[in-house]
């Protein structure tokens, strides 16, 4: 074997070339749109400040814009008589919680019920705490709900007749920052691991 083929000099030069190519390739792949293309989230940029609203939480306490200050919030709009989408979303939030820092991370998870006629504060509390003892429920009259839902682009409407009606509703999970500003919209399908990565990306 020709001992000069793999001389230290040639090996060093080859390594420098490979590292340089790797560096260049990495830079090129990052040259596309970055921050707003996090997977699993539509980033709201600039953040959308939420207008004042006045709802009641599941313990009967006021749930207003002040409750969104000082911590990040994942918000979902649903209702307790929902067979499929809402339990799925609440389960996803439960699975997200440890990935988003857990119980002490100062992140809150809120279900806003768009069915105040059936979802009394007591029922709502029972519902959310089934999924996690820290989860919060909130609701109000449709006029009060509109102050929160309309600016966020959330739609809902009753469907079906009688006492067992269903409510069609937006299925995205909304991310609100500690200044009570909407920062992101996480659409279906909800994958907890991707949501956690998206959350970390938005917080940066």
């Amino acid at each position: 074997m020709n001992k000069h083929l793999f001389s230290p000099t040639r090996v060093a030069i080859a390594m420098i070339i490979m590292v340089t190519l790797g560096f260049v390739a990495q830079r090129l792949s990052k040259s596309g749109p970055a921050q707003t293309e996090l997977q699993g989230i539509t980033v709201i940029d600039p953040p959308l400040a939420l207008a004042p609203f006045s709802l009641t939480d599941d313990r009967g306490a006021p749930f207003d814009r002040e409750r969104l200050r000082g911590r990040w919030t994942f918000l979902f709009f649903g209702y307790a008589h929902c067979a499929d989408v809402c339990p799925t979303a609440m389960t996803v939030l439960k699975q997200l919680k440890p990935l988003a820092g857990g119980a002490d991370a100062g992140v809150q998870y809120v279900l806003v019920s768009v069915d105040p006629e059936r979802d009394t504060p007591a029922k709502l509390g029972e519902y959310v705490r089934y999924f996690d003892p820290q989860f919060v429920g909130a609701t109000g009259s449709h006029a009060d709900l509109a102050k929160l839902t309309k600016p966020m682009g959330v739609h809902y409407a009753r469907s079906g007749a009688g006492a067992d009606y269903q409510v069609n509703h937006s299925s995205a999970i909304f991310l609100v920052d500690p200044q009570a500003r909407l920062r992101g919209l996480l659409p279906q399908p909800h994958v907890p691991q991707l949501m956690a990565i998206a959350f970390a990306g938005v917080k940066k």
């Binding site: 067979a83 499929d84 339990p87 029972e126 069609n168 299925s171 399908p189």
Partner: protein
């Protein structure tokens, strides 16, 4: 020597029996999601596998301990979800029809008692040709991997 020949013969028969698809719909992975206390509806999910040669059509269902059962499909319309009731679900030969979170599901309405994790729901599926299937479906809190069960 004869005994092992018989066992071999039995094994071969079983292998060939399994190789032919059935005339019945097969149900795989059926589960009912445990609901919060006081819930008026629960959802049942499963995969229905078609028969060897003919389409079977699910037209009705019943569940012991529930007032009624309906088949629904969660559909996405302009950013929101709606639930559309289905009157029938066709299961073509050899196809897998999946009922999963975020998609089609059986809505079990008005439980007459609590169905907690670990209990079973006796579900009856009725088909257009008159066939009836009875299943014991376990109640579970949540599947670990929910997102990947999207239809």
């Amino acid at each position: 020597m004869i005994r092992s020949a018989r066992l071999l013969g039995l094994a071969l028969v079983l292998v060939f029996a399994g190789a032919h698809a059935s005339d019945e719909v097969a149900v795989q992975g059926a589960w009912v999601r445990e609901a919060p206390p006081g819930a008026s509806v629960m959802a049942a999910y499963m995969t229905l596998v078609g028969t060897a040669s003919s389409t079977k059509t699910l037209v009705a269902a019943k569940a012991a301990g529930f007032a009624s059962v309906e088949l629904h499909e969660t559909v996405f319309e302009s950013g929101g979800v709606a639930m559309r009731p289905l009157t029938a679900l066709a299961i073509p030969p050899r196809e897998r029809i999946v009922l999963a979170p975020g998609g089609r599901h059986l809505m079990l309405i008005k439980p007459q008692r609590a169905f907690g994790e670990g209990s079973q729901v006796v579900l009856e599926l009725k088909f257009a040709d008159g066939a009836v299937m009875r299943l014991d479906v376990p109640v579970k809190r949540a599947l670990a991997d929910e997102a990947h069960h999207h239809h």
